[in-house]
């Protein structure tokens, strides 16, 4: 039971982290119709910028400065890259962001090298907040939860209480109305792209010390972010939240419980082959849940796309 509670908390941390990435991606998609393949790359940039800043002035300034840099960079890329590609259509846009992801990874390796970076949590948070049956819950993870929830609340406030938020909400529901905004659509696009990437940057800043700061970090998280927003429903913020938490818990629990295929197959009345090593099904018999944990989200996505192409809470296709 205690392990269950710990897992709930761990899954929450993972889920909220995913949500920080997904919310930005969802905003961008809703406004611009672009699935930004390079979104996780901005997350990586956030971690690397914050690492660089932390070597000079410590962790805390990086928490603010790094996302701002990432956001500005994102806005510039929108202005001078994406906007140009926009005219060719959606597929080239998707391919552009795909290429951008490759390029950013190369640039990061060029600038920072290929080794893991010793980017660490601030000393002030380097203690155990509480323990459940010997399992320590670090204070830093509590901090992560608060930051993620804080960002979510700010986002909710902006979306529901401000004029810009209203416009964005309108775009979430009726994609074509954005075109009717008339003035400053490009500026809104640039702003949304900047803010969306900055949020990915924040996620990178706070996840870097825990999940590691290395050139493969974007690739590792990249496709799972897509999976999440597709599962949640493209363009749906609540769907993104639901799917993020779902996938966070799915992965945590899948890794924690050693459900073995052997037990399931025996329970189903099948007989374990005596000579397992030469059986064609030996891989099936030795399979465990943690082994397939990381691919469960993909399985979930494919199933959902077959059954309900608009995702869990999504309203529109494409």
């Amino acid at each position: 039971m205690s392990l269950f509670i710990v897992n709930i908390l761990d899954g929450l941390v993972t889920g909220l982290l995913l949500f920080m990435l997904c919310s930005g991606l969802t905003l961008i998609f809703s406004m611009m119709g672009v699935l930004n393949f390079a979104h996780a790359s901005f997350y990586m940039l956030g971690a690397y910028f914050a690492y660089q800043i932390s070597t000079y002035v410590g962790f805390w300034p990086g928490l603010i400065i790094a996302p701002v840099i990432v956001g500005v960079l994102g806005a510039l890329i929108e202005r001078y890259g994406l906007r140009r590609v926009h005219q060719y259509g959606h597929v080239p846009e998707l391919i552009f962001t795909f290429g951008l992801a490759l390029l950013i990874e190369e640039v990061v390796q060029f600038l920072w090298g290929k080794s893991q970076k010793a980017y660490e949590e601030p000393a002030i948070l380097d203690f155990t907040a509480f323990s459940i049956a010997g399992n320590a819950f670090p204070a830093y993870k509590v901090f992560m939860i608060f930051v993620a929830i804080g960002i979510f609340l700010v986002l909710l406030y902006i979306l529901t209480k401000t004029r810009v938020g209203m416009i964005i909400q309108a775009a979430l529901t009726y994609p074509n109305t954005v075109q009717n905004l008339g003035h400053n659509v490009p500026l809104v696009f640039m702003g949304v792209f900047g803010v969306g990437t900055a949020m990915a940057g924040v996620a990178g800043v706070i996840a870097g010390p825990v999940l590691g700061t290395f050139p493969g970090m974007a690739f590792l998280l990249g496709s799972i972010v897509f999976v999440t927003i597709v599962v949640g429903g493209l363009g749906s913020l609540w769907g993104a939240l639901l799917a993020s938490l779902l996938i966070g818990w799915l992965q945590t629990f899948a890794a924690s419980y050693n459900v073995r295929m052997e037990d399931i197959l025996v329970a189903l009345g099948m007989e374990k082959p005596v000579d397992l090593a030469s059986s064609a099904l030996r891989d099936l018999w030795t399979l465990t849940l943690p082994q397939i944990g990381p691919i469960l989200p993909y399985l979930l996505m494919v199933l959902i796309l077959i059954v309900r192409p608009q995702g869990l809470l999504g309203k529109r296709e494409t």
Partner: protein
């Protein structure tokens, strides 16, 4: 096909053949390992060590065969078996007869297989495979061949040494095994189960699991299980980001017991663990940097660091590869007849710079040498890693580990 493309292709391949036609005064060793992509750090570290060893241990002493120098030619295989085979072909075309590779047993498997076929199909252009780091036991067992030599202790030998140490530690009653879900991870787990069972039947294996390689974003759930199992020690074969992720998660979840591992040093890993790893991380491996086994080794490491301040001697056996290859070429009196060189290398006994004897076993071409348990620590470190102040210090040693271990290799020698 388009004219433009034809031209481009012509020009490029002409360039390629031009590089192939250099005069072969030097004895060239092809270094085929990742120099770009996610594993480039390890590859470049190995390259720096090869270049340094070739210069320091051979060329500065007048070379071999009366003046021929060793030259390391680097080929980037992007850690892909496909690219490795292409680069192998390029290397062979350049007249290179010695192939060094180490990162990834998958690549080593592809290479040893390709080299076996190549040598059979092209008896006039045979090559030798110097495997300095790929530790899949199969390479010197079922998949062994006459052209393959392994200078690192393989996974089974390391586990043999490790379990010898654990055997003496009465405090360890419960062990947790975790590794990456592929041949090497499985080999480590299987060896641990077998050897612990034989040497310490009282030890309970409270966990034995595999996680997908390179796919786990957050190891916290695994760490929770390990803590909950009440393990007194943990054994893992993880490397790279998987090692850092697992280690950091386990430590921050409150694990204070030893973590026995194969690869958890250098390439930023030592620095990333820093003080968290003190007293927890234990490596099993060959090569002694701390305390320096002798003045020669001390001077060698110092000279290397002076030249490569941002790189470490993470794979000390590379010095053995170079020294032993030089000796074999001298003994054979040729650098062209690979049968003679390989025969000279077989059974060679060598006093290594690292204070151990290294013997290439004839039966399977596996190097037998001292294997150590090394502690990640800040104390008494003469040569640190990642310039972090932390390094690896020898804690205990198994002399000539697994010298008598059986092998399934049926070595076929050319007539």
């Amino acid at each position: 096909m388009n004219k433009f493309a034809k031209l481009l292709m012509g020009a490029a391949i002409a360039g390629l053949s031009a590089t192939a036609s250099f005069a072969a005064d030097n004895i060239k060793i092809a270094f085929i390992d990742p120099l770009s992509g996610p594993f480039a750090a390890t590859g470049k570290q190995g390259l720096a060590q090869y270049e340094f060893a070739a210069n320091e241990l051979v060329n500065k002493k007048g070379g071999v065969l009366g003046g021929a120098n060793f030259e390391i030619v680097a080929f980037d295989n992007k850690i892909s078996p496909k690219e490795s085979l292409i680069q192998l072909q390029v290397a062979i075309d350049q007249g290179i007869r010695f192939i060094a590779q180490g990162n990834s047993s998958g690549v080593a498997n592809a290479l040893t297989d390709a080299i076996k076929k190549h040598n059979r199909r092209n008896p006039d252009k045979r090559v030798i495979f110097l495997n300095y780091s790929a530790v899949d036991p199969a390479l010197t067992n079922d998949k062994c061949n006459f052209w393959h030599f392994r200078f690192d202790a393989n996974a089974d030998i390391k586990m043999d040494a490790l379990t010898d140490i654990i055997k003496k530690n009465e405090g360890i009653k419960k062990v947790y095994l975790i590794g990456q879900d592929y041949s090497f991870g499985k080999a480590v787990a299987a060896a641990a189960v077998k050897m612990l069972g034989a040497k310490r039947p009282d030890i309970e294996i409270v966990g034995n699991e595999l996680h997908p390689i390179g796919k786990v974003k957050d190891f916290t759930p695994y760490a929770r299980k390990i803590i909950a199992s009440g393990a007194d020690a943990m054994i893992t074969g993880n490397w790279g980001a998987d090692m850092v992720g697992l280690g950091k998660s386990v430590i921050s979840a409150g694990f204070k017991k030893p973590i026995y591992t194969y690869y958890a040093a250098s390439d930023g890993i030592t620095k990333t663990f820093g003080s968290d790893g003190e007293g927890v991380l234990k490596l099993v491996g060959e090569g002694q940097l701390n305390p320096p086994p002798n003045d020669r080794a001390d001077a060698y490491v110092k000279a290397f660091k002076a030249k490569n301040p941002d790189t470490d001697i993470g794979q000390p056996r590379i010095a053995n590869v170079i020294e032993m290859l030089a000796r074999a070429i001298e003994d054979a009196g040729t650098a062209d007849d690979m049968v003679k060189v390989a025969t000279a290398l077989e059974g060679m006994e060598h006093d290594s710079i690292w204070g151990t004897k290294v013997k290439i076993r004839e039966s399977d071409h596996q190097a037998i040498q001292n294997v150590h348990i090394l502690a990640h620590t800040k104390n008494d470190i003469a040569h640190d890693f990642d310039n972090s102040g932390f390094g690896l210090k020898v804690e205990s040693t198994v002399d000539m580990a697994s010298a008598e271990s059986p092998t399934t290799c049926k070595m076929k020698r050319p007539e």
